[in-house]
Symmetry: C2
Subunit: 286 residues, 2 copies
């Protein structure tokens, strides 16, 4: 039902955000202009995506971390000890990132990029950017990005901390093993789309729903074969314990530790009750 | 120290991922080819970023949700009841998304886009994509994206559930209020960079560290003025209780409920210990 106070023709507002995407840069060319601390963060982000980096920055302004990255990844980073020289620099580039104190220089570079349809980000000048960066979490194949849409990096960092504390550190490993299971299932039951595709998708979903993260992590190659033999081939989803030949499921570590502290509290209180009563009764006896 | 087993020249591997970014599409033109369920998801993602959408899809293949979106956002979505006709369609576009069953048609469209340097995503054909989508969480200004780098949407959905359950639902509101505080602080102490910029950043960080999310949410305009008067102007960071004129901080609901169940357990055990001891001593008396 529409809100009676709202105009009947006003659509529900869902705008005001960004399009969050995972940009592919494998073996693409990225130009980074500037060598300070922000540039070092940009280099790390871009290395994550397997790009080739051309870095332009006079040596005197190069941050220690930037220098370390140049030395560590010589096959990925081509460093030139000089400033940005003009439009020719961007012609072969697939992406340009500026991290300069000089706002006017950044603006010029962004305009050149826009004219040449090269995606560009200028650190600290949001109105010049085709895209923003955010706080990032990485655990193997798992990547999480947190954007506050310009409402401050501090809140993004706080959110990152909050999300990190909700993760066990096992998720990346589990996702990697599920990826292997998925590709081996596709080998066993090949083909794109159709009824088989739907059946594969349904079976994979059930595995991911029934198995815990730390169980999925244990899916080594032998277990994957066994799971496909005993599960996919027999049209069911066995638990890890069933695959291992056990019938009961083990209690998770968290529950065990919580249980034992409750148990200690109960035992301690029971003993305290017993001691107090003994003392009271003994004192009344005298 | 380097691992003695590793080659001394091999750099630590940090690749294999994507560059996660928040793409800006405000009032940009996005072409979506196809009208099925996946297209409806694409439309929603793109509407989030305030783009203008041109949608090409024969009416007979248009999904109910897609139809609903076309009807709800007529000023944002221009719908054409026909197929993609050729290169002229992409000339004014800032981004193209295909969601077609026809892999060859998707491939042709992607090639046209690449030639014209228009970023493109083809649903279900990762090798043709400039970028991928992932599971998304939105809470006002807060946006979170979860990518498994091609290891299955099911695990991304599981991760989304896990992260969602770690959030209180108050984060978006808190981030929005901190954004208002930040811009009002900039009005009170204007200027870019320098010592004042660093002081502003440090003070904002302290507020975000000291205040809880649900306290930040309570920062209405009156409290923001008070916080700037009593905090920024006096070079300190008061707590919400101090601003409200209270001296003690209230205990959070979670801790209270956890405390009371522990208290009940201890009392119960104490009483049980007392009763048992009384019974034992009484029976020995007889």
């Amino acid at each position: 039902m529409a809100d009676s106070c709202a105009s009947p023709t006003a659509p529900p507002s869902i705008g005001g955000g960004s399009l969050l995407i995972a940009w592919q840069l494998k073996d693409k060319n990225v130009l980074i202009v500037g060598g300070g601390e922000v540039a070092s963060q940009r280099i790390e982000s871009v290395l994550t995506a397997d790009a080739h980096i051309t870095l332009l920055a006079p040596a005197k302004g190069v941050h220690a971390r930037t220098k370390e990255l140049i030395d560590t990844y010589p096959s990925r980073i081509t460093y030139h000890d000089r400033r940005f020289s003009g439009p020719a620099e961007i012609h072969k580039m697939d992406m340009v990132l500026t991290a300069l104190d000089d706002v006017n220089r950044s603006r010029e570079i962004c305009e050149m990029c826009r004219k040449n349809k090269v995606p560009v980000n200028a650190a600290d000048i949001p109105e010049l950017c085709d895209f923003y960066f955010g706080a990032q979490i990485r655990d193997g194949p798992l990547q999480i990005m947190i954007s506050t849409n310009g409402n401050g990096p501090r809140m993004a960092a706080l959110m990152k901390k909050k999300i990190n504390s909700a993760l066990s550190g096992k998720e990346g490993g589990a996702i990697e093993r599920v990826g292997v299971l998925r590709s081996q299932l596709k080998e066993r039951a090949p083909g794109v789309g159709g009824a088989l595709g739907r059946k594969r998708m349904k079976w994979m979903s059930e595995v991911c729903n029934i198995w815990e993260m730390d169980e999925l992590m244990q899916l080594d190659d032998a277990f994957i074969t066994k799971l496909l033999d005993e599960g996919w081939d027999k049209n069911c989803v066995p638990t890890l314990d069933q695959l291992k030949g056990r019938t009961t499921r083990k209690t998770s570590r968290h529950t065990q530790s919580s249980d034992s502290s409750q148990w200690l509290l109960a035992m301690g209180s029971f003993a305290l009750g017993a001691v107090c009563t003994t003392l009271i009764l003994l004192s009344r006896k005298r």
